[in-house]
Symmetry: C2
Subunit: 203 residues, 2 copies
């Protein structure tokens, strides 16, 4: 029997989730595992924890402006901070589009997620509006009209709410948040531990 | 000419600073470097960032109760969460004692810091009061009366205020916070990057 997938909770608005998204599938594959990507609305968790969007916190903002490109260089992936007016990304449309695609074609959904992450965190696109998400999805073969309709579909809206609620009930309060056989790991800086956990089966 | 020391800013109340404190000197020594330990009052930075003591944040508290012992096991060091009534540690007395000893015997100051970290994060001692710090310091050969006097010394009090202010001006907002030749690294989960930075001289 195949082992259950690693779960990768993220919000497109999280720069560390973007960084982790460039590594998580390859990391899991080294241990014969797949990854289920799970978009969620981090803002709902922030209401409980009192957290604020990372790049808006005094002192921390200055550090992150150094840490994020530094970590991106270390990982060998591109990174560009968004225009201040475009942060945080309101990721509702992109997250709903992901869930809609996932139901019929999980691989395509993941390609969309990667395109959204890259569009926002590298190309500096404003992806808060459904039309912009449709534009990013079109080159992947996703019909814009169908995507725009899905984003307004009450069932999809509810699914994202439910997935966010489930995430919070499972203790997710930040992104990326990764579960390996139920074991929670928070942050791009836990990827080494995730890999060790997979290699050793815990410690 | 000897290279300048790595700077290790910490608050005794930070569990991740405790974990990092068990590794930082050995890590630096592998690269021929020394470490200057710099206690500070993290609460002053928290006033600017709006952060709250880690173990008091909903959702995050549950995660930390899992992450901290897990990381301690990985590092092979003991860890025990303090009684809720004893967290956060009011680290004024211990921090002042450190500065007082450092002026004449930096190695002894570091041994005191290690004893305070261990006393609080392993033995569960309540080290918020000066008398309790004096008790922990006595086996190291520190005369209790002299330590208690130093903790009330206006010059020492001012020195801790100044060191905290300097830390904040340099962008310190959490602990541990490590500077390697001016390059800032926040968190026990940046120790691998600190080591890489030392090995490669940056990237």
């Amino acid at each position: 029997m195949a082992e259950p997938p690693i779960e990768f909770y993220f919000d497109f608005s999280s720069p560390y989730a973007y960084l982790a998204s460039t590594r998580i599938d390859q990391l899991a594959a080294r241990h014969g595992r797949k990854v289920a990507w799970r978009p969620m609305m981090l803002g709902a968790a922030f209401k409980l924890t009192g957290a604020r969007p990372l790049l808006h916190i005094p002192l921390k903002d200055v550090y992150l402006a150094r840490d994020l490109p530094r970590m991106a260089r270390l990982l060998g992936v591109p990174y560009r901070a968004p225009e201040p007016s475009r942060f945080p990304l309101r990721a509702l449309a992109a997250s709903r589009a992901y869930l809609w695609l996932e139901a019929t074609d999980p691989a395509l959904a993941k390609r969309l997620a990667q395109a959204v992450f890259h569009g926002y965190w590298v190309d500096g696109l404003d992806l808060g509006e459904a039309a912009a998400v449709a534009e990013v999805a079109a080159p992947l073969g996703v019909a814009p009209a169908a995507l725009l309709a899905a984003i307004e579909d009450p069932a999809i809206k509810q699914q994202l709410k439910d997935q966010t609620e489930t995430a919070i009930q499972r203790g997710v309060f930040g992104a990326p948040f990764i579960f390996v056989d139920g074991e929670p790991f928070w942050g791009a800086d836990r990827l080494e531990q995730v890999e060790l956990w997979l290699a050793r089966g815990g410690w």
